[in-house]
Amino acid sequence: MPFNLLVLSCLAYVAMLFSVAFLAERRAAMGRIGWLRSPMIYTLSLSIYCTAWTFYGAVGYAARSGLEFVTIYLGPTLVFVGWWVLLRKLVAIGRQQRVTSIADLISSRFGKSNFLGVVVTLLAVVAATPYIALQLQSVTLSFGVFASGTPEGWALPDRDSTAIWVAGGLALFTILFGTRNLDAKEQHHGVVLAIAVEAVVKLVALLAVGIFVVWGLAGGPVELFQRIETSPIADWELQPGRWAGLLFVSGAAVICLPRMFQVMIVEDGEERHMARASWAFPLYLLLMSLFIVPIAVIGLERMPEGANPDMFMLTLPLAEGQGALAMLAFLGGFSSATSMVIVESIALATMVSNHVVMPIWLKLRPKAAMSGDVRRIVILSRRLAIVAVLTLGYLYYRLSGGSAALAAIGLIAFVGVAQVLPVLVGGLYWRGATKTGAAAGLVTGFAVWIYTLYLPSFGPGAALSVAVFEQGPGGIGWLRPQALFGVAGADPLLHSLVWSLALNTAAFCIVSLFTFPGPVERMQGVAFVNVFDAEGGGPQGWARGRAEPEALLVMTQRILGNEAALALFAAEARMQGKDGYLPDATPDFVAGLERRLAGSVGAATAHAMISQIVGRATVSVEDLMAVANETAQIMEYSAQLETQREELTRTARQLREANEKLTQLSVQKDAFLSQISHELRTPMTSIRAFSEILTEGDLPPEMVANYGRIIHEEAIRLTRLLDDLLDLSVLENGSVQLNLGLANIQQLIDRALASASHTRPERVFVIHRDLPSENLFVRTDADRLVQVFINLISNARKYCDAAAPELRITVRQKAGRVSVDFVDNGSGIPKQSQAIIFEKFARLTDQTRAGGAGLGLAICREVMANLGGTITYLPGQGGAAFRVMLPLRMEQKAA
């Protein structure tokens, strides 16, 4: 087959992939995702597990080590068949936390620690570099097979230039379809569909070659069975340690390989898809492995001694003259290599840009989260990372010379990425796993792997000197890289696997036991371990944040793009019941936004960027204390509010009482007005009547005298009433003239008793007095004070309803004030009336209408106020009791 036809068909195939990816992207952009995200596509995309290492290398592996190669596919089979145990949880966490890579998952689980992200990224890049080199090598080798097989003697000009063309083309494809969008979740529909197509191509190619070999060359399955038994492969012996170890390491790798994580969790992780893949993916692996041994056996039989078994897939059909079949096989191998490189470099570029470039960039330009175009920077850094990863792979290929057997390189990478497994599983199921523990485990495992497997893989004398191999570093025998702690003679791969993972796990567990996780770590730990218990429930807690929605919007636009960011914010605003584009930056919203951004730039970077706006890097204990402090302040404030509220209630009650009193007074005033008219009218009526009789004349003189006396008395009553009213108004105006002088209380009381005895003189009162205590001189207006006393004594005489009425008068002097109590033994004044007795026009009963119009006590109150004292009712004294308080020395009021 002409070589340029091969190149042409190769280019046509690549063009086909381009158009498939392009159409898928366009379909997705129009929102018609549909079957682009089906379990079928998902399962096929998982097939990137089968790289060129599988396609070419498995046959070589089988030719060298018999059935051992199946362990590489049986491990993943067990993991997928048992998806309910681990993968389901991983998928759920990936969706909930919007994980972008395995480094992001580890970083996110352990408190969004960027250090862990960097370690995992570094590990992944180191492990993946030879793996990518392996793909370049296999493509170059396959080109070489065709070139040397051409009748024209078309010698391949330069292996290196082939590799560089391949690497360049892959970089272009990856950049075109892998970094087009920076979606919330790192999904690349075009790439995924292209990989699915490639998965079909490689399966069909392998099955076609297999069927040709079994039925075309071997003469059917039964015949083949005999040939296998007699072939050199049958000399293979199962090594129990390697068998179990490879089952384990391949199972670990299928979870931890960056590209597997990318397609399994990041691109389209969904439980429904996972359920289908749980059996479909193992079935795919089974079909891929089914014809490996037959091809190896027949290849060993038919091909000349010394032929490279890694290339039997191509050389066997070519030798049998099946050019078209060889072409198909070539495309299958090409597909395997390209799909792996594309996805791997996307996964690695995401990790590098999210965990290495972005944090450094943010640190160098802290304000850039706001001002710069983050979106552009992220995409640029990803593109550069893709180029860098492929360049590394190419350099590794150039330096290593591409001589090592394919299988060996693949296994070294497997052991490397398996170092993530203890931390991953521990983080998923053990809440006590800490960041420090994870870092210790990862670094330990990484170091042991590098030392015992990676560096020795370059051969003695290359990376490590021969002396180190034989005597250990510095002559320390138990540190020999392939006989650590004196365990010599073991298979190097198994030796490294056991020691690296054992020390890794031990460091992780022990350090975790002795360290204390930070608050974010603990919250993330709960969110991961209990992912099925509570959906959502952001563990971030931006409760104390003071984020400006506008600043958040600006930043989100930089990452998600204008339209997407505006749509997101508008939707949130609508949900909050607001118009426009700016929702309130509620803690829930900010936490959701962080997860959304984490889908683009990784958890640690998103956290850092949001922190710059919200103004808080992490939730530290100080923060929690500050929150507690704030809470205390709020509680205090609410207590103050409570006090104020009570005060208000009290005031309102007082107002209500005052209002009641006013209403009552108003009623009384009305009653009094009618009464006073009546009071005025009664004497007026009798005066008028008697005076009319008198004017008629013709009356006996004694009757005239009698009528005249009545008229006189009524006139006096009127006068007294009017005097009282006048007196009261004078007192109330404060314009009364006081006649100050020294007076003896005892004499004043004597005068008052004498005057009051005219009131109801028929009643006999017993007066209790303590004369010595009354012997006090006060400076006051004696006449006014006597007026008060008279009033009180008269009231007692009038209203005391006891059968044997008594009146007790007690005088006390205290602190410059004198109190005089008048207590009788009657029924007293009911409580509801005590408040109004001092008001004008108050009269409790009409039972005894001995003069007065209810003005007495009101006048007393005004008098006492003018004298600088008070008059109060004393409740609970066994009768009506009044206390008059007055100053010992009354000063003349300033006018």
């Binding site: 068949v81 309910w84 293979w236």
Partner: protein
Amino acid sequence: MKRARSPLFLKRDSYRKRRLRDGARMLPVFGLFLLLLPILWAPAETEATDTARDGLYLFVVWFGLVVVAALLAPGLAGDSSTDEGEDR
């Protein structure tokens, strides 16, 4: 005692569902056992070349796992975290 809290007679459907999940958890364990079994018929001791038969055995087990997983998968999918009770 979680067992004591749950009712004695569970709904038939949810009971079956739980056992299905138990099965899904056990499947990889059974699979691992069957795949490690070839270690026992220590190949070094038998002179007979049995690579083909070993291969046949492995592929039969492999296919069996695929079939069982395919039978379990429809029952497991879809009821993600509805009643992921502790009592299983």
